[in-house]
């Protein structure tokens, strides 16, 4: 379970953010005393740091500089300042991503998992119950048979594979697709999922994706 450290001075946002992350299966920890922020952030040994720019004492950019001197832990800057200047500055100090408030929680989760995945350096080939998943070729194979997935099907399968055993909402799947420039609508998503199911069935994994009514899907 990845640990995410939240640096945010607005109490209400901090608490809701922690809840959101816990609900999505992350461990969280928050900075509450900003007098010695750098040392505390480093002591937490988190896998990822979510950081606001407007925080007391050291501001986010200075804090980021301090942290970067010690560690390469991925940092996502989260701020209400919508400006390219801040983004360029943060990125140049070594932030891994930059998100502006108010954010769509689903998009935030998507970015977090993308950054975590990048820093973990996951290989492009993964397995799912005996199936080889090849991102580059866009295929699933069980050694003897190979099944080609469309781009959309691959995005959906990858997304669910990364959250194996957890409920994935249609909303999240939709966000993942749109984030990859696939502007599909509700019907197309349904079609894509049923096609993915039938392709999995041909590889003898017919019941891999289960539907949870009014909640979403789950990859067993």
């Amino acid at each position: 379970m990845s640990k995410i450290y939240i640096v945010e001075d607005d109490r209400s946002i901090r608490e809701e953010l922690a809840e959101l992350l816990r609900n999505s299966g992350y461990e969280t920890d928050c900075l509450t005393d900003f007098s010695d922020s750098a040392a505390q952030v480093l002591a937490a040994r988190a896998d990822l740091i979510l950081m606001d720019i407007n925080i007391p004492n050291l501001n986010g950019e200075q804090l980021l500089k301090e942290i970067r001197r010690e560690t390469d832990t991925p940092v996502i800057m989260v701020t209400s300042r919508t400006s390219e200047t801040d983004e360029v500055l943060s990125m140049s100090y070594g932030a891994d991503d930059y998100i502006t408030k108010p954010y769509n929680p689903t998009i935030l989760l998507l970015r977090i998992s993308a950054v975590l995945k990048r820093s973990a350096g996951t290989a492009s080939v993964q397995t799912y119950s005996g199936l080889q998943v090849n991102d580059a070729k866009g295929t699933l194979s069980d050694g003897s048979r190979e099944m080609t997935l469309t781009k959309n099907e691959m995005i959906i399968f990858r997304f669910m594979l990364d959250r194996k055993g957890m409920i994935v909402t249609r909303d999240e799947l939709m966000t993942a697709l749109w984030d990859n420039d696939e502007f599909v609508n509700d019907n197309a998503l349904t079609v894509n999922i049923s096609r993915l199911r039938s392709k999995l069935a041909e590889l003898d994994c017919g019941d891999a994706i289960e539907t949870r009514k009014k909640q979403g899907y789950i990859l067993k």
Partner: protein, 337 residues
């Protein structure tokens, strides 16, 4: 300054001079002064008047013709006193001093307004950033405690966010300082971000988006471009046709000297009469009056942002069938290669 105008202006002097000359002749004749002497005195008198007038004319002419010539070519006419030498005659000096004085007072006045405008703008910017915190907090709450109201709250919160963004970018578009960064921006990324931000609204409206040829970088400010695309999307959603499904097509055209970004929808379109005025401030037109509530600010802000970034924007439309907005991004070989 023409000599004829000067003479006209001096007619009272000539009249009094003529009367005094007449009276002098009368008295000289009455005292039986010799005709030669009268002739002599007359010539001296006339010579004096002519010379005095010529000197007066040329002194003034130099100053005033310089004034009007410089005024003609100056683009900021209120700076005229900086361009003039102090004139060598009394009236001119008085006028010159008054001009300087008036100008100084105007500058102070303008500076005061500029200061208060800047203060106001900074406060607006600060306020927008502040108000985004509770909005962010509410969005998280609505997401964390999802019941049937969650989505409705989310929808309203997106509206609040949209309106505050409009205020922020309005303040930015009116600002004289440079607060944007021009760098290569992927059109694909910008369009995806804008679409993602408005995804729920687009899906609620049942719209579909098609893209074409967006694999191109343009020189612009990414955040501003996303806001502009967001405004386009909001307009398309607002003015969709009731008879058919809304389809939005975003395409780019890579040309030797520029990149054109087309944003086309199949909505109700804009009446030909209103078309030239859609970028005007507070212009609502037929559509704004009869379909959806409109502030008439969206496209005005978009236009000002485009002007500041150095892009040109145009619109074409046919009522009842489509609206197409096109932004032209100039290419700069120095940056792109």
């Amino acid at each position: 300054m023409r000599i004829i105008d000067y003479i006209k202006d001096r007619c009272w002097f000539y009249l009094t001079a003529a009367i005094s000359f007449g009276m002098m002749l009368l008295f000289l004749t009455a005292y039986c002064v010799s005709v030669q002497l009268i002739g002599c005195i007359s010539v001296i008198y006339l010579l004096f008047i002519i010379i005095e007038e010529l000197i007066g004319f040329f002194r003034k002419r130099d100053f005033y013709s310089e004034l009007s010539e410089k005024l003609e070519v100056l683009d900021k006419k209120y700076l005229i006193h900086e361009m003039l030498q102090k004139p060598p005659f009394l009236e001119g000096e008085l006028a010159y001093d008054a001009l300087c004085e008036a100008n100084k007072s105007m500058c102070e006045c303008v500076a005061e307004y500029r200061r208060s405008f800047t203060d106001f703008r900074e406060f607006i910017e600060l306020w927008v950033h502040e108000v985004k915190l509770p909005v962010a907090s509410l969005q998280l709450m609505a997401h964390n405690h999802k019941d049937e109201l969650g989505d409705k709250f989310m929808e309203q919160l997106r509206r609040i966010d949209g309106y505050t963004d409009q205020v922020l970018y309005y303040a930015r578009s009116e600002n004289a300082e440079k607060d944007y960064i021009i760098k290569p921006v992927s059109l694909k990324r910008a369009v995806a971000n804008a679409a993602l931000k408005n995804r729920e609204d687009i899906q609620l409206a049942g719209a579909c988006i098609e893209t074409e040829g967006l694999d191109v970088n343009v020189m612009t400010d990414g955040k501003w471009l996303e806001f502009i695309l967001g405004q386009f999307t909001a307009n398309s959603l607002k003015y969709k046709s009731p008879d058919r499904e809304l389809a939005i097509k975003v395409s780019a055209e890579d040309m030797p000297d520029k990149v054109l970004l087309h944003f086309r929808d199949n909505g109700i379109g804009i009446h030909e009469r209103d078309l030239p005025r859609v970028f005007e401030k507070s212009f609502t037109g037929d559509n704004g009056r009869s379909y959806a509530k409109s502030t008439g600010m969206g496209l005005y802000i978009v236009k000002s942002l485009c002007e500041r970034l150095g892009h040109s924007i145009s619109v074409s439309s046919e009522q009842g069938s489509f609206t197409e907005l096109t932004i032209a991004f100039a290419k700069n070989d120095y940056y792109l290669n």
